[in-house]
Symmetry: D2
Subunit: 377 residues, 4 copies
């Protein structure tokens, strides 16, 4: 389980560095937005210049998110135009607004020289028709799709380095793709349906009150929802699976015509995603060989931990961390690969990965200002 | 979602009936034992004559299980010999002891004319070698295996009716088999690996304190364990799958040589099992047709509810109930059947099904004294 | 801790009894309404004839409350007039609507000969001005206040026996009054402020979604609210404290001019109220003597359990039960009485006590159809 | 609610500072020890040189506390002698061992020039007889009691600055004293019993498995324990209350002869303490005046937030933070002060305050490396 290297962790990385970049956060009072602000407060180069809220403009941030004490920031109106924020020194914006709410304005920010990291689903799919199919609305800015980079850091890093517009992946998609892509890339998968079950904490459902997120309704039970092929994240999952496969072959993708079953479940925890995935194999495999393959694939990735043979990931172990913990098993006489992955949906599944992407866009070490340890309890 | 029939539920069934049967419960202070006593208190024919505890003999039951107020029962030593309990009028015993703890004595109780319902894994497998493989110990009473009836009520009812020794199924096995067997019986399955993920409440891990069940360790996260083909319940699952298949064909079982992947997970709830299962199909199927097949299979089964096309089971809805809620979906262009099943692990997954079996052994309606409604909240 | 008497509990009480009473429930899809229906299903004399919902009329009850499977009932519109329900055989109604929603119609139901048990705050206070002060609206039916009986069963039993209109107490008020009144009645209290802290489960906040009841907001923390003298339940608490004191003396109430501090807190559990109360004593007391006084006061009360000297009540022990568990301690050199009481807010704090009151109104044993045991887990 | 000052928080404090101090942690695998290591990893001057565990010596820290990924540290045997750790560069030790386990060795570490911060109860009481009364064992090192400084940072800061041995306060004591002492110091209290109710998260009960901390036993209910005057923390509470009072008067302490009622409760959350305290007042007070008094008392204290009149503290808001949030109300016609305080029991109630004390011992800003923001969710 050990990763090399003693004790030097995040806070040491930036001692002595003084570079500062002005940040704006849209949608600061949702769970993703608040987590961005919490993490950015520990980032050595981030200077939060502005934060907006559609419901709470004019109020102090800490009155809306009392855990963010002492920030002293007053929430802005949702900025329709970049100028006011540019004037206040905003160089980069993170949008934590829901899908459909920001994309139409993204172009204006980009034209004003502001880098954009969008945590919604709006810029994840390259194909506007696929977007409409998954999100049931026409895409608000189809001309930007080509330049947007899908921000699964460990898989798109070089593209992210020079991006102006990053589409931060969905939380489910992050956990599932981190678990599936090494096998796809290595052409272990036989193209028969992959079955991905995933468990999500309730913060994944957003902060707007609903019967679904009422403590009495979700606090003591487990519930599947939008199972099979219904969930919007399937679009970005399939897109990445197919493009990963195609990079390795001229023979066409087996994924192109195959299915991917994704069963999300809500369980009574605030944070976390646990993905449990079965991948039918092209040929018999030994577990140690596959584990080694995963380790090699991720050996340069500081936030990925491929666990030893006797360990399995738990959401508790990554709660509060930007890590993705992964375990690899082989079953069914060597013909089925089982991969388990755990992330914190608000960190690696949202705000943390957004900052990881921003670190790359700025040329800093990927780990800058990001927690490797979890809360623990 | 509606089942026929207005309001007449459990308490009406037995008005005017005076028949009484003396009951003994072994292992009364575990979660399964305490649930047995709670449910038996609402059973019109049950007279609890004795209850034992290995740790708390001589103390009152309500001092050990304070929710069972007013019972007034003093806990016995774990009875090695049936005579004392027979003398006190015990006609039937329910053993809620862990596996390996009671089986060696079971013969003596049966010879004394006492019916036995064993909630442990000891009498579930017909093959002593398979028992040893799954439970890592030689079987304590192999000669009884042939006469024991596997108590999955909806599938072994006629055998249970005349049984003296019932092996109550495991909680995971109950949820998974209720979901899988109709498809197996109807020969929809193509024999490729079935992938069954299941989520369990913490009471399934037993009442003995451990780091795993510590609130801080399991209370805010989800964790897989004994995944793939490691869990002991796989033995009874495969045994039932194969025997169900063989009943329908002389052509041999496709299960005989196929694999069954079972990934259990612990999630932060006290009660409940949710199984999410993918079954590769022999030929393309329409969801409505499969749902109708499931409904026909269970139409005489008062505790099974096959949900409408737009609904999915949740553990909260069956918490406290002896029901099994099931939903059927078809994915992957009609080639993969998805079945979701929810039970309360302590009721349909343990104490409730034990009483359901006892009802059949006595010739009473299966529903006698058992709750159809859940706690709700 | 033991209460006398072996095993005969609720289901035995009514063997052979055939008397049936038609029931209507208003507000059936809230937590209180659903709990009423769940408990009435186990009551030997109850025949549910009608249930209404303001939001879900025309839909099946089990589609709205899936734990209530098989009931088959279709929800009515909220009945403005009693006639339709009378025609369907409704003899008694339980209103689980919020305060202000039903009271104006109560007179019409009473005039039509329908008994009314109102679970809201509307008929609890005898004084319309005090109602307006606590609920911030004029009383909708002040002329009925005189005939309404406050349904704290153990303290108003004889009045309830012949009541037509019962005002079921608030959940906090029930726990606190059960704990305080024996000391008040025995004139142990010196009139200095009583300090009552209470913890409530989230179902007490109702089923309407809000940020307060969002799992992420309330699921991992404890929060006080409306502390000091702000909570509406203080009205009924003071009313009962004063009338209890006056019954015992002609010298006037010390409560009349004294204060009662009530600090409610929300904690992450679905059900339950735990009250922890400090009562300044008139003279030094021995704990055993006060415990004995409490036991004598409640010795005829089947749902009250005064715990032994070494035990303290826990909400888990009464979850699902109609019991009130009470512990008595003395501190501060004998000058401060500490009383701890636990109830299930939906049972003894709402639906269970409503049925207990109805049992008395009908002349049946108070325990008829009500659970003494809790869910346990 | 706002505290002055924009955004500059912890990570900014130490940019450019290179001073490093070697740290050793005893008892690293309990909840307090693990939290120390998590927080020290974010401290600019801390270099963790050694960590010990009595059960897991020789194993890697991250195998025992998987949330602490990448630390790479191997756990030592519990060091009986300071030399080995001194040789490895340990300048300061934090002991997170339970009471009685370390004190007898403390002198040896001090003599070796190692500063000691002890998180157990061993050095909190100045009087060895009082220690024996509270902890039911003779004090292991009574000669050190005089030199130990009680580490309630906001109240003993000047003494801590030059201390070699700091006794870190108990979690309950921290919350209660922070809430009570300003009123005591200002002589608002009339000497009649203070009633302090407190709710604790389960991590406060330690990591050793027990029935009390089993998820099924504590996960869905609230339970008082060791109420009245039984809890060991009362010793340090009374000691600080009395010494605070005496500092202000030569007239003797009213506390000397008065009582303090402390009712701790366990509620289903991992972290957090919420104290709800009623203090009888010497004379009528206006709430705004008392709030202003509290604000003035704490205006130099960066971790204390005295809330506005309409707000109340919640444990969720301080979860993960070293803050103490306090609200002040007045009830009972101005004669009763109600104070509510929330802390994270593992941070301000243990590891965070230990580091806050260490910061003072080293002459660094109190906030160095400590989180002001909470986890949020």
């Amino acid at each position: 389980m050990a990763r090399a290297g003693g004790f030097p962790r995040r806070t040491r990385d930036f001692v002595g560095i003084a570079e500062a970049v002005g940040i704006g956060v849209l949608g600061a009072t949702g769970y993703g937005g608040a987590e961005l602000i919490r993490l950015l407060a520990g980032h050595p180069h981030a200077r939060l210049r502005a934060a907006s809220s559609r419901q709470s403009a004019g109020r102090s941030l800490d009155s809306q998110i009392p855990s963010l004490a002492g920030c002293g920031l007053i929430l802005d109106e949702d900025p329709q135009d970049p100028q006011a924020w540019v004037d206040r020194g905003v160089d980069v914006i993170f949008s934590a607004l829901p899908h459909g709410a920001f994309a139409a304005r993204a172009g204006r920010f980009l034209e004003a020289g502001v880098k954009v990291i969008d945590l919604s689903g709006d810029f994840r799919l390259r194909d506007a028709a696929e977007y409409e199919r998954r999100y049931h609305m026409p895409h608000p800015a189809p001309d930007l799709l080509e330049s947007a980079v899908y921000g699964l850091t460990e898989w798109r890093g070089l593209h992210i380095d020079c991006a102006q517009l990053v589409a931060n992946p969905g939380c489910y998609a992050t956990a599932i793709l981190m678990a599936v892509l090494p096998a796809v890339e290595a052409r272990l998968w036989n193209g028969a349906p992959i079955v991905a079950n995933a468990l999500s904490g309730v913060s994944g459902a957003g902060r707007a009150p609903s019967l679904t997120t009422h403590f009495v309704e979700c606090g003591s039970g487990a519930a599947p929802y939008r199972v099979g092929e219904e969930h919007a994240h399937l679009g970005e999952i399939l897109q990445m699976v197919r493009s990963t496969e195609l990079r390795r072959t001229s023979a066409g993708s087996s994924a192109a015509n195959s299915s991917f079953i994704f069963n999300p479940h809500l369980v009574p925890m605030s944070r976390g995603i646990l993905a449990s995935i079965a991948i039918p194999l092209d040929r018999r495999q030994e577990p140690d060989a596959v584990r080694e393959l995963y380790r090699r694939r991720y050996e340069e990735c500081p936030f990925v931990r491929v666990l030893d043979a006797d360990a399995l990931p738990e959401t508790r172990h990554v709660r509060g961390s930007n890590r993705c913990d992964i375990a690899v098993r082989v079953a069914a006489d060597g013909t089925m690969l089982l991969v388990f992955a755990a992330i914190d949906n608000l960190v690696k599944g949202a705000a943390g990965q957004a900052i990881q992407n921003w670190n790359r866009m700025q040329g800093w070490p990927e780990t800058t200002g990001l927690p490797l340890d979890g809360f623990g309890s």
